[in-house]
Symmetry: C2
Subunit: 190 residues, 2 copies
DNA sequence: ATCAGAATGTGATCTACATCACGTAACCAA
DNA sequence: TTGGTTACGTGATGTAGATCACATTCTGAT
């Protein structure tokens, strides 16, 4: 599917935007292509944009004392990602985003998002819905973290996103689960 | 401060609502009073409302196998709380909310919130902002969970909300940190 | 004022997971 | 094809925090 059509259908599930209005809205999104391994957003960068994934798979991650990586989010088509804290607070990025596979995204600047949200009530509605969904998912993940051991969290992740099993190397799954790659590996044999 | 004024100033920081419009908006909020220990929302309930705290302190929590409690959120004045997953998905509550101290809240039904959001673009803007803030805080807490040990998480919590130290019993702080009360207690001596 | 239940402290022991160490297999790039 | 890097598996050992057990202090209802 075309990137434009993908975005349109994604938004249309929640908000109704007239065809000609959507053309205008879409003109604010900048299509970008990246190769596997390429960085989209790096720690310390000024953050201006958020990204709507149209193909491929990204990861948004944090690296602590330059040693350990924690993955906040995998981003697949129709998912949005960025360092929202940095975007919102206008601070340098602490979260990085890069490509697990070749990927294409639509880039929307924060400025344009706010402009469009004020121009189109329905778009503001859409973004409220989207953030709400992210918030609920994040709460759920937090609870899972407190309540479940690694094995259960792993099973939960795979049942939610079965594609990840083949798409994403195991050590990245470990980094998402907040566990060492060794421990994750040992789960298979237990 | 009056509950009404508290809400008005809280919203005014983000959205501009005309005085007479705010009166109309406010008429949809139902003031409620609760005693310390009283339940506002219990697991299994149908969830219709979200709550804006105007005085006192609540907790939103999850109980797993009828043994262990995890606190998702403390809610103090100007904070909003509910079981948002249940509210959004129209499913029975899995999160409960009750009062750590005597408390007063303004109750807003989901239906009224959606109605008001569609009537007032600025209010939709406000709720987008609010959810966005919650999402960012939740992401941050998740990272802290993965990256920090109990001691650091405890210090982080107290530096963010010093009032909690005197207001909230230690075993509830432990339940927020996702740690046993014994371990939390031992932090003081180390 | 008194007493029961809740909150807190603290020792002894257990356990899930981390860390370190090493070996093997898979994947590219020249 | 080859050599180097990255991914993955697995043993040995260390450790943060859980669990159990019990003592002490605080608190709120009668």
């Amino acid at each position: 599917m075309e990137a434009k059509e993908l975005l349109q259908q994604h938004i249309a599930k929640i908000a109704s935007i007239k065809e000609e209005d959507f053309d205008y809205v879409f003109s604010h999104f900048k299509p970008m292509s990246f190769k596997k391994g390429q960085a989209i957003l790096s720690e310390g960068d000024k953050v201006d944009c958020e990204y709507f994934v149209t193909s491929g798979c990204l990861k948004a991650f944090f690296i602590n004392d330059e040693i350990k990586m924690y993955i906040l989010q995998f981003a697949m088509p129709t998912w949005w990602t960025s360092d929202y804290a940095a975007l919102y607070n206008q601070t340098p990025a602490t979260i990085s985003v890069d490509c697990i596979t070749d990927a294409e995204v639509l880039c929307l600047s924060s400025e344009d998002r706010e402009k469009l949200c004020s121009e189109f009530h329905q778009l503001e509605h859409f973004f409220r819905w989207r953030t709400n969904r992210g918030y609920i998912a994040s709460q759920k993940r937090l609870l899972s973290f407190m309540n479940n051991n690694v094995k259960k969290r792993y099973e939960e992740l795979l049942s939610l996103y079965p594609q990840l099993y083949n798409l994403v190397p195991k050590h990245l799954i470990a980094a998402y689960l907040g566990v060492s790659r060794e421990t994750l590996s040992r789960l298979h044999s237990s």
